[in-house]
């Protein structure tokens, strides 16, 4: 008799349905909290949802592979979402063309800076080479960064966390930093946060100003392309 709830749990905990529901549910809760705090960057919905789910998994002694069986349906959509980044980029092609030179310069300089500075600082602090590979694409949007790490033999899960932290750090930093620097060009402000902090930075930029958000989205898409192309070469140069 008393076995029944336990048997039900054994069944549910092994099906994708439960963990898919938990993933979406945690996101809804985290998103509500983020909304209630007026999108305070410290209350990042992704980080909150991750902590929430990790606590549930820890509390129910569920392993990550079992969880991922359900969550993989959400995870799969990262690929199509990367492809869909072409849509805003295409829509904004006239803005891109009009500011082409400043964007290209900022893109190449910023992209190289993001990779080299992170790897060098971590290397100085004694982080081993294998982890440096997973750190290098930290400014790139998660699906692309994880793809890059995987192709170069790093650890995509670690990259996912470092990418998210970078997003949160950048979206907290950007507004006070840009104000302190006296930057008034919304295009430049948006572009830099999109490049340094991908989607999380872009979301932050859209809250501040729609033009900044547009440029942040463009920077995120372009930096994903440029980093995917440059990173294998740069890593070979600085890690040898």
């Amino acid at each position: 008799m008393s076995d029944q709830p336990f048997a039900l749990w054994v069944y549910l905990s092994q099906t994708p349905l439960l963990w898919l529901t938990v993933t979406l549910g945690a996101y809804v809760v985290a998103d509500r909290i983020s909304h209630a705090t007026k999108r305070n960057p410290l209350c990042n919905p992704v980080l909150m949802a991750v902590v929430l789910i990790a606590l549930v998994l820890w509390g129910t002694a569920t392993s990550y592979p079992v969880y991922f069986e359900g969550a993989k349906f959400v995870h799969f959509l990262l690929g199509p979402a990367t492809v869909a980044l072409a849509i805003p980029l295409y829509e904004n092609r006239r803005i891109v063309m009009r500011a082409l030179l400043p964007m290209l310069m900022a893109l190449v300089i910023g992209s190289v800076t993001a990779i080299v500075s992170a790897v060098w600082i971590a290397q100085l602090l004694g982080v081993p080479r294998q982890i440096l590979v997973s750190l290098a694409p930290k400014s790139v949007t998660a699906p692309v960064a994880m793809g890059i790490t995987e192709t170069l033999g790093g650890d995509p899960a670690l990259t996912a966390i470092l990418v998210m932290l970078t997003g949160v750090i950048g979206s907290i930093m950007v507004t006070p930093l840009m104000n302190a620097l006296g930057m008034t060009d919304w295009r430049a402000r948006g572009f830099s946060v999109g490049l340094a902090s991908h989607g999380i930075g872009t979301a932050r930029a859209f809250q501040v100003h729609s033009l900044a958000g547009t440029f942040a989205g463009i920077a995120m898409a372009l930096n994903a392309l440029v980093t995917a192309l440059l990173l294998p070469v740069i890593l070979r140069l600085i890690l040898s």
Partner: protein, 133 residues
């Protein structure tokens, strides 16, 4: 909507086939993004004759991108398996992230502003000048 989703998946498929087929160290979806850009260009050509062609693609793409942050969560939970790395190198990695993000923000915004002042001395700003289109 299904047609648009098929197009997006098809672009990703083409990207994966190219990346893996040629052994390029570039993620397939990134190449898929380039294929998608080309597809949108072709769509707009066809639209000159059939104005309603492919109108759904924008809405489908926006639907996918609206909750982009949800899509990172499953991978993010994977940190559970990496707690050993984080306890050992967590501080070093955090310092690297904070300092590197700071430098990247400053360098990028300065590069953008510097070049835009050099090249746009006559036509300022990106907002008001869209009347010509």
């Amino acid at each position: 909507m299904i047609a648009s989703l098929t197009l997006i998946l098809f672009c990703q498929l083409v990207g994966e086939v190219i990346a893996r087929g040629l052994g390029w160290p570039i993620p397939g979806p990134v190449l898929g993004m380039i294929v998608m850009l080309a597809a949108l260009g072709v769509r707009d050509r066809i639209r000159k004759y059939r104005p309603a062609f492919g109108r759904q693609v924008d809405a489908t793409g926006q639907g996918l991108l609206a909750h982009l942050s949800l899509l990172f969560i499953p991978a993010g939970v994977g940190v559970m398996q990496r707690l050993d790395i984080l306890t050992e190198y967590g501080w070093a990695l955090l310092v690297a992230l904070v300092v590197s993000t700071f430098i990247t923000l400053v360098v990028t915004v300065l590069a953008f502003v510097f070049v835009s002042r050099l090249t746009e001395t006559s036509a300022r700003g990106g907002e008001g000048s869209s009347a010509r289109e």
